[in-house]
Symmetry: C2
Subunit: 208 residues, 2 copies
Amino acid sequence: MKLYTFDSAPNPARLKMFIAYKGIDVETVQIDMAKAAQLEASYTDIVPEATLPALVLDDGSRLTEVIAIAHYLESLYPDRPLLGTTTEEKAMILNWNHRLFNTVFMACAEIFRNSHPAYASRGLPGPADMPQIPALAERGRARLGLALTTLNSELGLRPFVAGNALSFADIDLLAAIVFARWGAKVDVGEEYPHLVEWRARTDAALQA
Amino acid sequence: MKLYTFDSAPNPARLKMFIAYKGIDVETVQIDMAKAAQLEASYTDIVPEATLPALVLDDGSRLTEVIAIAHYLESLYPDRPLLGTTTEEKAMILNWNHRLFNTVFMACAEIFRNSHPAYASRGLPGPADMPQIPALAERGRARLGLALTTLNSELGLRPFVAGNALSFADIDLLAAIVFARWGAKVDVGEEYPHLVEWRARTDAALQA
């Protein structure tokens, strides 16, 4: 199998942390999104979705969604599990993955893609151009604030996003917070004390 | 455990099909979204996310995302599997679930929520009001057309969304197409011949 990715982009970044924590060795090709290389035929002939990351399996089939790539890799490399071991843990981590993607991560993407000059005709990922919608960047900011406030409250009640142990959900949130800073100019600082504490805890757990 | 839902809403509808196909018997409470009952304290005291469906487990923890509820239920009730049995199948079905949610399903939701008069201040699900963005309804229509064209091509190559067997991904797409018709006034007809054939195949498989 072969992983196509661009490590510094937000969605690839969370997969990179997952792979690094688990110590997985996978053949990797960087596709330079800064030069829009994901839209070139040399890539879209392999991955017509024109998105990154993508894991192409040996039979030629491809996984284009981070959550699916992570589940596939965790099945092959179960050590240092990040997707849960009991039925309840697995469900809760999957729940948080989906929820974080559709709240805090999507809010950052809405802000970034609908306001950055370099994305003037690229309001959505994928092969087709889409105009920016400035009102969507504004809504994204409102959404992001609400999501961070809720997460701050919840992380006052337990050490990690999905419960008592580090999981992929923490990596998801970490990647979103990094994205919020550079892509949306929103800093998760003292206004969110539980998030600041959680982040220190998560950074330490990822280094362990 | 107890399932809170509203069977006729698009996101609950796909969970309803999943449960019906597998013949699962779960205690269910209908929360009338037509009367905005999901925003009342009697519900938000239990599910602060104010979204439907939600599965509340016996320890009080809650799953609010359909994909997580489906995975949890399939673990408890493995008969008539809809989420795959091999590592590859499981990854591919999860991939399609995420991809369909973030393309065709989200496109329909963007159209519906940003154009229907009853949702004037409800541009997003959840407890907070959000203004409608008419340009987002328009973008949703462009996105939906592109997504359906791509799916039509792909379903000319294999019988079901995620491969050779019926899966939850087919239910996801079926629910999205039903939503497209009433929520977005987009009919998946002769323009998409492979989708029409796939739909007949899926309807038959679900009845089997």
